[in-house]
C-alpha cells in the first residue's frame, strides 16, 4: 500500500530549515569542494554537480560517526569519559584509512592545550 507522496514538505519542514533533510549544509560542502577542486585544464572553474554535495552530506555523517567512535574507544582506553583531541589523534594514528588526517590532528595538538577538562583520570595514558 502506497502512501501519499511525502516529498512535498520535506525540504521545508520537519527537519531543518537550513540543511533540509541533510545533516550538513550543502552550500557549505560545496564551498569546501570548490576550494579543493581548483581549475580545469583550460583555466575555467571546476564545476560541481548538485548531487555531489548531497553525497558528501551523508558521507561526512558516516565519517564523523566513525571517527568519533574510534576516538571514544581511545577515551575508554584511557579510562576517561571525555573525548579529547588526543583521542581523536589516537584514532587517526591507529587507522590507516585516516592517514590523510595526520597533519590535521598533529597541528591541532601542537596548538596548545589550553582547554583542559579536569574530570578525568589517567590523562597521560595516551599512546
Amino acid at each position: 500500500m502506497r502512501q501519499a507522496r511525502p516529498y512535498s514538505g520535506i525540504f521545508c519542514g520537519g527537519v531543518s530549515a537550513r540543511t533540509g533533510p541533510h545533516a550538513l549544509p550543502l552550500a557549505r560542502i560545496k564551498k569546501i569542494m570548490k576550494r579543493s577542486a581548483g581549475e580545469t585544464a583550460d583555466g575555467g572553474a571546476r564545476m560541481i554537480s548538485g548531487e555531489a554535495p548531497v553525497v558528501f552530506s551523508k558521507a561526512c555523517e558516516l565519517f564523523v560517526a566513525e571517527l568519533t567512535r574510534r576516538a571514544w574507544a581511545a577515551t575508554l582506553e584511557g579510562k576517561r569519559r571525555t573525548v579529547h583531541r588526543e583521542d581523536v589523534a589516537t584514532a587517526v594514528h591507529n587507522t590507516d584509512l585516516f592517514d590523510f588526517l595526520v597533519d590535521v590532528v598533529n597541528a591541532d595538538t601542537a596548538g596548545g592545550d589550553d582547554t583542559h577538562d579536569v574530570d578525568d583520570v589517567g590523562d597521560g595514558a595516551l599512546g
Binding site: M1, R2, Q3, R5, P6, Y7, I10, G13, G14, V15, S16, T19, P21, A23, L24, P25, R28, I29, I32, M33, S36, A37, R46, M47, I48, S49, E51, A52, V54, V55, K58, A59, C60, L62, F63, V64, A65, E66, T68, R69, A71, W72, A73, T75, L76, R81, T82, V83, H84, R85, V88, A89, V92, D96, L97, F100, V104, D108, D117, D119
Partner: protein, 269 residues
Amino acid sequence: MDSSFLPAGGAENGSSGGANNGVVAQQAPPPIREQDRLMPIANVIRIMRRVLPAHAKISDDAKETIQECVSEYISFITGEANERCQREQRKTITAEDVLWAMSRLGFDDYVEPLSVYLHRYREFEGEARGVGLAPGGPPRGGGDHHHHHHPLKSRGPGSGAAMLPHHHHDHDMQMHAAMYGGTVPPPPGPPHHGGFLMPHPQGGSHYLPYPYEPTYGGEHAMAAYYGGAAAYAPGNGGSGDGSGRDGGSASHTPQGSAGFEHPHPFAYK
C-alpha cells in the same frame, strides 16, 4: 564581474589604491572565513553525540578537531575526484566521481549506503535529476548500486538475496513513508520496534538489512540509525516478526568493545 565596471585594471591591482568607488573589499582575495571553511559545529556535535553513549562528554578541542577533519575529508575526496575529472577532461565533478574517489581512497564501505542515499535523493528530486549518472551506466559504484552484493555478505546467516534491496519503487515509497513519519501517517500495522517507526516490510518481501533510510529523515530518524533505537529497544531485531530479517538493524553488531551500542553497518575492524 565586479571588476568589469571599473575603469581600468590599475585600481584593482594596486594594493594601495584605497577606497575608490567604495570597493575596498575587492582588492585582496578575501580571506577564507571560518564559517566557509568548516561545517557548522552544532551539526558536527549532533552527529558525534549520536554515536556516543549518553554519559560521554566531548571537549571543545575534540569538537574542533573533528570539525577540521570533516573539511579535510571533503578536500581529500574532492581532490581525488578532481584528478579523475582532469584525466577524463570533464569539467564537472559528479556524485559518481565522488563515490569513485571514496572507493579509491579506502572508503569503499561508504559507497553502498551513499549510493542508496543518492538514489533516494533523486527520487525526491524527481525525474530530471538522474541525468548525471543513470544513462550509460557508470564504471562502477554509481548507478548499479542496488545490485551490489558484496556489502551484504557479512550480514549474518540467512541473509541471502531476499534481503537485498531490489530495485522496487513501491519499496522505496514505503521507505519514504516510513522515514518521514513526522509528516506522513505511519503505515498501518502493528509496530513492533518499541514504537519507533522503522522501515517495515509491510508485506513486501524485501527489506534493507540495515536501515539507511532513517538517516535521510533528519534527527529523529537518524537517532534510530546511529544507535538511538538500539538503545531504546535492544534486541528488537531478529525475532520481532519471527522472520529474522530485521536482525541486521541493531543486534548484529559485534563491535562492543567500546561499551556502547552502535548499529553502524560499515564499521572497520
